[in-house]
Symmetry: C2
Subunit: 234 residues, 2 copies
């Protein structure tokens, strides 16, 4: 990822004559979480496909850009299906944005220090060029929507998908995305944030538990789909 | 449940002199599934509490009539949180209804033959008296809302709660409620109906599998709530 790599580190100065070596100057990159818009659908579609590959579930992947476009943006954000996009940029993000949804959610911008530069082999496929010529790169997304707890008598958020592209992992970006959903839930007075995890995905379970989640061992997901569902329409 | 019991069986005639006894005259009752309205909140609240008792989870039950009223009816049915009410009546339901939501969902009425009369010890607490003096009894409910499958690229329904009062169980009423949700999903072109079940509830699992559901054994529910959630608001 040539263009999205952090800016080159300054030329190192000779080590000062002190007992302990100072830490090397960290590489920095800017990360922004913002609401998705319909123009993000090509990225969302590719990210979902990458997730299906990762989960070895491509045989279940039938979404198209058209099906996503026609179903994802029919209601105001947070009242129904909602997508946050995570963008990475070597330079500060331009402040101005005119998309109307931005009044509903102020983008979260973070400056991240990296130990190693990010090498993105698919940067062209995830590049967004701004009106001012600036280039930013889509690194991941989270799709969520309101659910409801009858015991609490209030809504929550259900996270359907959380995905960070392979080259951006292990840098806290997934945590940023999930935290943004949790923060929004608190802001709206909601009672829970929930999602599901595969029981063999021990790294994900560890990550979620560190984020304050409890893994409920007793519940199983039930699903009616395909022909079994269609039969109810007769 | 004196008033909601099926009409008394006709006086039996002497057994005819044939080899096989005819089947006894069946008891009949009318069952209706309709959209809930705000006036159903007292019933919904009591039904949720009964469910919490059944699941031994009353320590998690904090919903009030006020919290339900303020959160359940803010969006058109099927676009957000939606409740179907199951009513039972010994007499045919009046056809006329003026509530505006009824144009969005035509109530489903079924005539059910029962082997034994229903004895409802709490009929007074679940009685609805119509403008014409008719009396019907709330027997159960289902609460559901849209969810989203990124793999399908389309919405589905998630069933948060399905509950039938104890005295109305084992008569197919739960199946009617869940079928009504599945039928609505098909009508709307949705791809899935999903819910969760406790892994020790073998009767429920058997019931769901007979209805065409697959129980997904690998997925676990994750939840951030309470103080762990509030921490994200800081």
């Amino acid at each position: 990822m040539a263009a999205a790599a952090p800016p080159p580190a300054p030329t190192p100065t000779p080590a000062p004559p002190v007992e302990h070596q100072p830490n090397p100057t960290p590489l920095t990159t800017f990360v922004r979480i913002r609401l998705a818009t319909p123009s993000d659908v090509p990225f969302i579609h590719k990210l979902i496909h990458q997730m299906a590959v990762f989960e070895k579930l491509t045989h279940l992947f039938t979404a198209t850009q058209e099906s996503l476009s026609s179903t994802l943006f029919n209601s105001p954000p947070f009242t129904s299906f909602t997508v946050f996009i995570l963008e990475v940029s070597p330079n500060p993000f331009p402040i101005a944005t005119t998309h109307p949804t931005q009044t509903l959610f102020s983008p979260i911008v973070t400056l991240v220090n990296l130990d190693l530069p990010i090498v993105d082999d698919d940067s062209e496929g995830f590049k967004i060029v701004g009106a001012d010529g600036s280039e930013v790169y889509v690194g991941g997304f989270v799709l969520f929507f309101p659910n409801y707890s009858t015991f609490l008598g209030k809504p929550g958020f259900y996270v359907e998908d959380l995905f960070v592209r392979e080259c951006y992992r292990r840098r806290g970006f997934g945590k940023m995305l999930l935290s943004a959903v949790a923060k929004q839930a608190v802001k709206m007075g909601y009672g829970r944030v929930e999602w599901v995890v595969l029981d063999w995905n021990v790294n994900a379970i560890k990550f979620y538990e560190e984020m304050g989640a409890k893994v409920l061992q007793e519940w199983r997901l039930c699903r009616v789909t395909g022909d079994a569902l269609q039969a109810y329409g007769d």
